[in-house]
C-alpha cells in the first residue's frame, strides 16, 4: 500500500509541472529573482546585525577564559600585536586588527609579567588543531595548554583534550622545547611529555604546535615585551 503511494507521489511533480503555454518575458524572470534576492539580502543583513555582537562577545569571552586557563595565577592580560617584527601594544592607524598576529601577555597581582599566551593551529590527524598555550619567557617553562578547536577522531585523538593525565603534563611546568616520548620510555628529562597510546599523531601534533610556536615567537618575545602601566585603562581587568 505504501509502496504504491510513493510511486504516485514521485510521478506527481513531473505530471503536474507541465509548463503552462504562456510566454514569460525575460525581464519578468530577471525581475522576480532580483526582487527575491534583494529581500533575502535585506533579511540576512538585519539578522546579522542582531546576532553579530552576540557571536563576537561569546568568542571574546571564550578567548578570555582560555588565556586565564593557560596562564595560572594571572590577574589581567593585554593583547600584543606583531608590528614590524616587534611586539606593540597599539596598532598603526587605520589597519584591520584581524590582519595582525598577536600574543597575550598576562600580569600577576603585583604587576609582574606572569607569562605569555600564544594561540596557534596546525594540521592534525583530521583537520587543523587549534590550541592556546602559556609560556614563561624568563624560565623558558611551559605554563599550560588548552585545545581550542579540534576534529580529532572521537575516542582516540580527542584524548588530547579529554584525557586529563595528558593535559596535566602541560601544566606541570615542563621545560621547552618539548619532547614527546612513549609512556614509560622517558629518561626522566624535564621536557618530556608522555604521548597517548592510540593517539600518537594527535599528541605529537600538540607538542609540535607548541615547539613551532615558540621557535617563531621566542626571538620576538626576547626583544622585549612593552611594559604596561599597572593602572592603565586599556588593560583588561578580571572582575
Amino acid at each position: 500500500m505504501s509502496d504504491e503511494s510513493v510511486t504516485e507521489e514521485s510521478i506527481e511533480p513531473q505530471a503536474d509541472s507541465e509548463p503552462v503555454a504562456t510566454e514569460v518575458s525575460t525581464f519578468r524572470l530577471v525581475a522576480t529573482l532580483a526582487v527575491a534576492g534583494t529581500l533575502a539580502g535585506l533579511l540576512i543583513v538585519m539578522m546579522n546585525q542582531h546576532t553579530k555582537p552576540i557571536i563576537d562577545k561569546y568568542k571574546a569571552e571564550q578567548l578570555r577564559k582560555a588565556v586565564y586557563e593557560v596562564l595560572p595565577g594571572v590577574d589581567r592580560y593585554s593583547t600584543l600585536y606583531l608590528v614590524n617584527e616587534a611586539l606593540s601594544l597599539t596598532l598603526p592607524e587605520g589597519v584591520k586588527e584581524s590582519e595582525y598576529k598577536r600574543i597575550y601577555a598576562g600580569y600577576g597581582g603585583d604587576g609582574q609579567l606572569g607569562g605569555v599566551a600564544i594561540s596557534r593551529g596546525e594540521s592534525g590527524f583530521q583537520d587543523v588543531v587549534q590550541i592556546i598555550f602559556g609560556f614563561d619567557p624568563e624560565t623558558g617553562k611551559l605554563l599550560g595548554m588548552k585545545v581550542l578547536d579540534s576534529k580529532e577522531t572521537p575516542g582516540l585523538g580527542d584524548k588530547i583534550f579529554k584525557d586529563q593525565s595528558f593535559v596535566e603534563q602541560f601544566f606541570a611546568r615542563p621545560d621547552t622545547p618539548l619532547l614527546g616520548v612513549k609512556p614509560g620510555a622517558g629518561k626522566g628529562l624535564s621536557n618530556e611529555i608522555d604521548t597517548i597510546t592510540g593517539a600518537t599523531i594527535s599528541s605529537k601534533v600538540v607538542i609540535d604546535i607548541i615547539n613551532h610556536g615558540l621557535e617563531i615567537w621566542r626571538p620576538v618575545i626576547d626583544k622585549g615585551i612593552p611594559s604596561v602601566p599597572s593602572e592603565s585603562a586599556d588593560v583588561e581587568v578580571t572582575p
Binding site: S2, S5, V6, E8, E9, S10, E12, P13, A15, D16, S17, P19, V20, V24, R28, L29, T32, L33, A36, G37, A40, L43, I44, M47, N48, H50, T51, I54, I55, Y58, D149, K151, T153, P154, G155, L156
Partner: protein
C-alpha cells in the same frame, strides 16, 4: 493529482513517506551529525525551521514565481532561511553550532526540502503546505533522533550525555565514527523492510482467506 485529506498530508511525511527512511532523502545530515542525540536534535530543529518557513513562503508566493525560474527561487528562499538559522544557532547555541560545523550550511542542498517545495508547496495552499512541512520535519526528526540514539548509546554509552552503563562500559568507538552511521542506517532499514514484508504477507493471507 491524487487528492489527499489534510490529515494525510500531515501523517504521510512522518511514516509512509518518511524522508530519510523511505524516500532516502537528506541522508548527508542523517549520516554525518547523528553521532549524539543532542546533535541530531539541533540539526532537526534547524531543518524543521527551514522547511516550515520555506513551505509557507513558497506556497504563498507561488503565483508570482514564473515556472522557468522556480527552482532558483526555491533555492534562494531555502538558502535565506538556512543562513538565518545558521546565525541564530551561532549566537544562541554556540557549542552545538561548533559541533555541527559546515552541516548547517549544507541544509541548503538537502533534497528533502527542495523536494517538498517542488512536489507539494508549489501547488497547494499555505495551510496544506505547512501541514506537509511539519509532517516531513517530524519524520526527519524521528529518523535522526533514532539514529542518534542508537549511535550515542552504543558509541559512548550514554543518552543525551546521561551515562547509562557506568564507567565499566567499553564504548564501541566505531558507532560514533562515520562508518557507524552507515551501519545504523542499514540496520534500521533492514528492520523497516522486515516489518513491511510481514505486513504484506499478512495482508495477502487475509485476502486468500476471504476469497
Amino acid at each position: 493529482m491524487r487528492k489527499t485529506t489534510p490529515s494525510q498530508d500531515f501523517v504521510r511525511g512522518i511514516w509512509q513517506e518518511n524522508p530519510v527512511l523511505v524516500q532516502m532523502l537528506g541522508l548527508c545530515p542523517a549520516l554525518a551529525v547523528t553521532n549524539s542525540v543532542k546533535n541530531a536534535l539541533a540539526m532537526s530543529a534547524a531543518t524543521f525551521f527551514v522547511i516550515c518557513c520555506s513551505s509557507i513562503l513558497v506556497s504563498s508566493c507561488k503565483r508570482f514565481i514564473p515556472s522557468e525560474v522556480r527552482i532558483s527561487s526555491y533555492i534562494l528562499v531555502i538558502a535565506t532561511f538556512v543562513t538565518l538559522a545558521d546565525m541564530v544557532l551561532q549566537a544562541y547555541a554556540p557549542v552545538q553550532h561548533k559541533e555541527l560545523g559546515a552541516f548547517i550550511a549544507l541544509i541548503v542542498v538537502n533534497c528533502m526540502i527542495l523536494g517538498r517545495q517542488e512536489a507539494f508547496s508549489a501547488k497547494n495552499n499555505v495551510y496544506r503546505s505547512l501541514l506537509d512541512a511539519v509532517g516531513t520535519g517530524i519524520g526527519f526528526t524521528l529518523a535522526l533522533v533514532m539514529m542518534g540514539g542508537f549511535r550515542e548509546i552504543l558509541g559512548t554509552g550514554s543518552f543525551l550525555e546521561y551515562s547509562l552503563f557506568g564507567p565499566n562500559f567499553e564504548p564501541w568507538v566505531i558507532m560514533v565514527l562515520p562508518a557507524g552511521g552507515f551501519l545504523t542506517l542499514g540496520f534500521i532499514l533492514l528492520a523497516m523492510g522486515y516489518v513491511e514484508e510481514r505486513k504484506k504477507e499478512k495482508e495477502s493471507q487475509a485476502a486468500e482467506v476471504l476469497s
